[in-house]
């Protein structure tokens, strides 16, 4: 039996344990253990993806117990992609963290790395597991670790933000758990495949199944911050330490979208979701509202960090709306956007982290003269922003392409319009930022640099290299979008 799926999870899990131990010997050891663990997990994810591409779905039985009694990891093309995405981003962020974490939380860096790895385990587990209850536990592991890491941020405010996140997060997780309870009452099983098979035999619409579905989806929506359930997100992500914000912003919401897709496609079945229930229209409208509300609230922000968090809210609307359009194109677009949005958001937050590293604050007044001072960081920021706006051949364009195409096919012209409007609003707000960075010279506190051009104060190489890699990833995900859809997403949907 190929043990790669287990290594994928166990590497960061044991890494967390040893990082904690190693901190007693030398604090810096914990960083390198974490780095090795996430790297190993990335390699494992890569191998798993290779296996899935070569031989189809990989089933890994934990401790050899057969499902539905035992717990299985079930990896098909969709989560193979998500797993690789998670472990790659986790690793790259760790590389970038070497300078920023030491600066932001010098006294508690080892505990940060322990929590960080547990967080990664949670995310990987959520994506890999084939068991509904396990999913709950792993979501809670992810959430718990993120509460603690958010609280490592700015004194006071970050604690309040984390508390708010806890309150709402607990409600979300509890809803999900309740939904799983109803599913268990109806089917007597917790294994996703098993549940799916049993559900297919239940004729018509059972109210217990409906309750289960609504509760599960509602819980996941709260966790992914679908408007208007998003209120916890902007504060939580913007007061968190940069080292954590960089990884939670691209991954947490996207993994929750993955969970939604998994529930819709694998557990309940698209037939049930779209033909038995008649919720699709309403949910697409919810997506539209989320897109517009997120985009316009982002426009109102004066702090770059807050602005980016509202863009996440907006992008969630893309994925939820796309997944609920009820056709393959829309679903493919939503899934493709999981990948693309994770890359774009990661690049944006990496750039943001670099700016914060140098400038401390990212209020609009602190952004002056950035093009001259940090050209490489700004190049990454511009590329990611253009991708969010949807400029070809960057990846954001292609997910938008599939989503709009799906919207046309479903006749959901309002969704297509929302996508276009949000692109325009994103263009406005990013170019507003670029204008400030480009046109306004450094403030007078650096008056002696007035002439002879601004001095370059670029972030350290360890923060620039990940940004460069992700930027390459954005371009590559764009030009190979067709390949990704054909080899990973469409096989999953069929």
């Amino acid at each position: 039996m190929n043990h790669m799926p287990a290594i994928l999870l166990l590497a960061p899990l044991s890494g967390a344990f040893f990082s904690g131990l190693a901190a007693w010997i030398k604090p810096w050891l914990s960083y390198y253990i974490a780095l090795a663990a996430t790297c190993l997990s990335g390699v494992a994810a890569f191998c798993v993806l290779g296996d899935v591409m070569a031989a189809g779905t990989v089933q890994y039985r934990m401790a050899g117990w057969a499902p539905p009694m035992g717990i299985e990891l079930r990896i098909d093309p969709l989560n193979a992609m998500v797993l690789l995405l998670i472990s790659a981003i986790a690793f790259l962020n760790l590389v970038a963290s070497v300078s920023s974490v030491d600066r932001e939380i010098p006294d508690r860096a080892p505990s940060f790395y322990v929590m960080y790895q547990l967080f990664v385990v949670g995310l990987l587990g959520v994506s890999a597991t084939g068991d509904l209850f396990n999913l709950y536990v792993l979501i809670e592991i992810t959430s718990l670790t993120s509460y603690t890491m958010i609280a490592l941020g700015e004194e006071g405010r970050s604690h309040l933000a984390a508390l708010n996140y806890i309150f709402i997060g607990v409600i979300g997780a509890s809803f999900y758990l309740l939904g799983v309870g109803y599913l268990y009452i109806t089917t007597g099983s917790l294994n996703m495949q098993d549940v799916a098979v049993i559900l297919k035999q239940i004729p018509g619409s059972s109210s217990a199944v409906l309750t289960a579905f609504v509760l599960c989806i509602l819980g996941v929506w709260i966790k992914m911050a679908l408007f208007p359930l998003h209120v916890w997100l902007p504060n939580a992500y913007s007061f968190a330490p940069v080292g954590f914000a960089r990884v939670v912003a691209p991954l947490m919401t996207k993994v929750m979208v993955y969970v939604m897709v998994r529930l819709m496609v694998t557990v309940f079945g698209l037939d049930y979701v779209f033909n038995t229930l008649h919720l699709a229209d309403i949910v697409v409208w919810l997506g539209v509202i989320a897109i517009l509300a997120g985009a316009f609230m982002a426009l109102l922000q004066t702090d770059l960090r807050k602005m980016l968090t509202y863009i996440i809210v907006c992008e969630i609307g893309y994925m939820v709306g796309g997944a609920w359009l009820g056709n393959t194109l829309g679903m493919a677009g939503a899934i493709l956007h999981i990948l693309n949005d994770a890359l774009m958001t990661f690049a944006l937050f990496l750039a943001l982290g670099n700016i914060i590293y140098i400038r401390k604050q990212v209020d609009v007044t602190n952004l002056k003269g950035l093009f001259a001072a940090m050209p490489w960081t700004m190049a990454g920021l511009v590329l990611a922003a253009l991708s969010i706006i949807g400029v070809p051949p960057l990846c954001g364009f292609f997910s938008k392409w599939y989503l709009v195409l799906g919207a046309f096919e479903a006749g959901a012209y309002h969704f297509a319009a929302a996508l276009i409007i949000s692109s325009l609003v994103c263009a406005v707000l990013f170019f507003k930022v670029f204008e400030i960075c480009f046109f306004e010279p450094m403030s007078t506190s650096h008056g002696h640099h007035d002439h002879g051009g601004a001095v370059m104060t670029e972030a350290p190489l360890s923060m620039l290299v990940p940004l460069g890699l992700v930027s390459t990833g954005i371009v590559a995900a764009g030009v190979y979008a067709g390949t990704i859809v054909n080899t990973l997403i469409l096989p999953f949907l069929q």
């Binding site: 709009v404 195409l405 096919e409 297509a416």
Partner: protein, 491 residues
Amino acid sequence: MESIISYKPLLAVLVPVLVIPVLMSSARRPNVREAWVFAAGFIMFALVVSMTPVILAGHRIELTLFRLMPGADIAFRVDGLGMLFALVASSLYIVTSLYSIGYMRGLKEHGQTRFVCFFALAIASTIGAAFSANLVTLYLFYEMLSLATYPLVAHHEDTTSRISARRYLTFILGTSIGLVLPAMIYCYHVTGTLEFSTAGIFAGQLSKPGATVLLLMFVFGFAKAGVMPFHSWLPAAMVAPTPVSALLHAVAVVKVGVFSIVRVLTGIFGVDLLESFNLGTLVMVIASITILVSSCIALSQDELKRRLAFSTISQLSYIIFGVAMLSSMGQLGGVIHILMHAFGKITLFFCAGAIFVATGKKYISQMKGLGRQMPVTFAAFFIGSLGVIGLPPTGGFYSKWHLISGTLEAGQTIFMVVLLISSFLNAFYFLPIVFQGFFGKSDDAPVNAPVTVREANLCLVVPLAVTALTSVALFFFPQMFVDLIVLGLNL
């Protein structure tokens, strides 16, 4: 007709892109940097020229890079139309590079490395747009061009350029995302392909209202073509240094807009469909309004570059006008105007820049008597004006002749009147400048003071002389380009 697979189109696009890192690394040695610019320009031009005989022999060059979706790849296909446009852009790039050395150094501009880098990126996107095989690829290069031009428009980094750059981007990006993108995706949704084909891609899948809306979305959405009311970015973009105005805002950028509309009209909708729904006339009306209104506005402009900008807006609509005529004569006249207008208008912009560098004057009212100081420049200006008005012995005559013949052939007298009025207006706003330049009395100089010839430096004068002479040469030898258009449009 056979298709030849070749990497030459890709190389032609990549050469200016690949030279950018080299340009950046030689930022401290301007002469080395400029040498690289020329090297890139000549290699690109050579690549384009080397493809010309193949195209003239009736073949096509194709190259597919990435398969996105069936019917929508990132792919190049060189045909007569693209070849014509690429020849214009790549040859003028070399001339403009020489000119911008003189201009930027003459004015001691800052950020010259940034300038040449984005200029190279812009020209690469232009060539890419010319060689696009389908609408997605065209859109890709269209957007790339918009973004590459933004830092050039914003070059001066002051309040005016900030406002102008913002307006530039609002119009260009707003329309391309807001109108072209949904229209393009809708086309793909209906037909499943976006490949250009002379028969059009719709096979009776569109109703007349649908086709009309779609067509309008494309015509207005490609705002680089400056069709009113989405034209006002062009005068605003005149804050950019003159080489930018000359190459990009008289040739590359604006003509990519027009080229895109031509591609959509002839390659996506197809002449037959437009004819059956009588949509050609609609586009002609829109173009006519733009032609007349912008000519009138041009009359009232005192700043030379703004007057040229409004003249460009009206001339661009000539091209759309001609293609929308849907007859061989009209389409030939319209498309060849891409070439003829390019050489005429770039000459005029070169002159405006040379005058500014030599004397610091940018308002027409200050230019009285200046022709005696700068005879070469004003002579070139005269030739350029003739080209734009459409008088012999310049190439502009050739395109205008065909346009007017086209209207007569179709019996559309009213449109012929539009063309004639506009030509008169052109004459009214250009020729007085030349006349006042040579014979007017200068305000700031004593009446009988001896006039010394004070031309701008050679880097500025040589390019404008070259383009002016080419404009004349095109009057005598247009045949190769006519062949290209006939092949490209299947006339």
